[in-house]
């Protein structure tokens, strides 16, 4: 009896899985799995998410405890050695994942949200509102982001992660807004939208229920791109000391490493490892984004010889 119940459950699960796969979300998952770049990107990100959630499982020391001998090289006790302050480098690295990932994703998400709001509204409203909004977008686009970020951060020194995220959002939204506006414009006069208007749907409803779903793939691509921007820029800011140096993130690790001339003083790992992590996080998102491009535009896929 139990055997058939189990079988029944399995076949039910199988049927559900088939239905999920057949749906749009399922197709997306399928495309991601079959694309090698996407899978590697996803794996990298999942590893980082795991480390951010459960750092204690991997690292056994407390990251900020300055209890060890300073500037040790790698050994079995300290996988990556210790910092000039006697902290275990490996523990620091693992625990920093949370902060770095958090800042990147939150800033990326908020900036994307802002892009969507401004870009789509601008395209949909048209006329003067559109003119003004796109002008603002273009100005922000051209203003060099990093110097602006530095200037704002300089005035609000040690303002904490909130300021950091705010600054990233303010400088990161314009790129996506421009692209979204362009796509929304091209969709604006398409037949299915005219039909919605004729049905008497209210404007915002049309935007949310008709336009946005069509733009999902672009929005996801922009989210990934903005997150990469956030990863790199946040790291850069923290590196020059404009983030909060007391927090635990890869960028601040680099700051302390640079301050103690780690490279020249013979503890290169202190300077190199956080950089490697930042690069890998960025690369994870970048691979996912690149694969996403290929999924939405099949012409870009590598040409493989067909086996007959």
């Amino acid at each position: 009896m139990t055997a058939t119940v189990a079988e029944h459950r399995l076949s039910l699960a199988g049927a559900v899985w088939q239905r999920v796969r057949a749906g749009a979300f399922g197709r997306l998952i399928g495309a991601v799995i079959s694309n090698r770049k996407a899978t590697s990107g996803l794996v990298i990100l999942l590893v980082f998410c795991f480390l951010a959630a459960f750092p204690g499982l991997v690292a056994h020391d407390k990251p900020n405890a300055e209890i060890y001998q300073p500037s040790l090289g790698p050994s079995s006790a300290h996988l990556l050695g210790t910092t000039a302050y006697g902290q275990d480098l490996f523990a620091q690295l693992i625990y920093s994942t949370r902060q770095s990932l958090f800042i990147a994703v939150v800033a990326g998400g908020l900036a994307t949200l802002l892009s969507v709001i401004i870009g789509v509204t601008s395209a949909y409203l048209g006329g003067l509102a559109d003119g003004v909004l796109s002008l603002v977008t273009d100005v922000f686009l051209v203003l060099p982001a990093f110097p602006l970020v530095v200037v704002i951060a300089a005035y609000s020194k040690n303002g904490g992660d909130g300021i950091l995220i705010a600054v990233l959002v303010v400088t990161g939204w314009s790129y996506g807004a421009r692209q979204l506006r362009a796509q929304a414009l091209s969709l604006r006069n398409r037949d299915f939208l005219v039909a919605a208007r004729l049905r008497g749907e209210r404007r915002w409803r049309v935007i949310v229920s008709e336009i946005l779903p069509t733009m999902t793939s672009l929005i996801v691509a922009i989210f990934l791109g903005t997150t990469i921007y956030s990863v790199i820029t946040a790291a850069g800011l923290q590196f020059v000391g404009l983030g909060n140096p007391e927090t635990l993130s890869w960028g601040t690790m680099l700051y302390w490493a640079q301050n103690n001339e780690a490279l020249q003083a013979g503890s290169p790992l202190w300077a190199v490892m956080p950089g490697v992590c930042i690069a890998m996080l960025g690369a994870g998102f970048a691979l996912l984004q690149y694969a996403f491009d290929e999924v939405s535009n099949p012409a870009l896929r590598p040409v493989r010889r067909q086996r007959r």
């Binding site: 770049k37 002008l135 273009d138 100005v139 686009l141 051209v142 203003l143 060099p144 982001a145 990093f146 110097p147 602006l148 970020v149 530095v150 200037v151 704002i152 951060a153 300089a154 005035y155 609000s156 020194k157 790129y175 990469i228 990863v231 790199i232 820029t233 790291a235 850069g236 590196f239 020059v240 000391g241 404009l242 680099l254 640079q258 490279l263 020249q264 290169p268 300077a271 190199v272 950089g275 490697v276 930042i278 690069a279 960025g282 690369a283 998102f285 970048a286 691979l287 690149y290 491009d293 012409a299 870009l300 590598p302 040409v303 010889r305």
Partner: protein, 327 residues
Amino acid sequence: MRYVLRRLGFFVLTLWACLTINFVLPRLMPGNPAIAMMAKYKGKLNGTALKALEIAFGVDSKASAVHQYFSYLGDTFTGHFGTSLTFFPEQVSKVVFSALPWTIGLVGVTTVLAFAAGTLIGIGSAWRRNGAFDSLLPPFFVIVGAFPYFFLAMLVLLLFAVTLHWLPQGFGYSDTDSIRLSWHFIGDVLRHAVLPGLTILVTSVGGWVLTMRNNMISVLAEDYVRMARAKGLSPARIMFNYAGRNAVLPNLTGFAMSLGFVVSGAILVEYVFDYPGVGYMLLQAVENEDYALMQTLFLFITVAVLVAVLIMDFVTIVLDPRTRAQA
């Protein structure tokens, strides 16, 4: 002609936005940070110089905000940027102009090289779709392009300067030399520029390769490329004159947007290598709470970016006759 005017108008508008940001920011921040800075100046400056700074930062000034704003604008347009705290008693303008050539040289040359190299590699990569070239190159550049600029700078510094001692560890030129026009000096400058330049080149070329490749792939599917094949033109001619010339156009407009990244990367690279350009100066100014210098550098960086964008706009007009029609 209208196109040109529109672009110039945009230039002026952005500049104005930049100046306004400079004006508004210190006043926005809680506990006007400029007040602390002014304390440092009080003993050293007097008279008009001090007054100008007060107006620029809104400290202790009896004048209304609007009046301050226009005074500030006036000062800026007449080139009175104030006195630098970091390099006291040098004028900010002098500091900025001494740093500008270094950055323009380094960033300008490497960016042009990266664009040219990226474009050519992108064209080649799209042309041969079946090879290992096309399967390996894009992921490679995607990954390298995600590296933070300064990280690569540090690696390069570690490898070539600290470990191998092939190239100098920093600065624009050796301490022992003074600035003069001689082959020896120029050679010295170039040696110091290799590592920072290489870093910028390697991280930025990837972006160009990828976008160019994507553009080329779209263009190669176009009818006029098939037509060119039908006419019996040589593959090289088709690749460059028909496909390449059309594929590069979106990149030119994209150049403006990418400049932001290039500038940010350049600032950090200069920092790592202690290279005396505007980026390095900017970070020095921040460290020393030298807001006058900081603001002016921000202004000039913006101007440089805008000029580059304008140049690209004109190049687009030359290369794409359709924009001329819109003009």
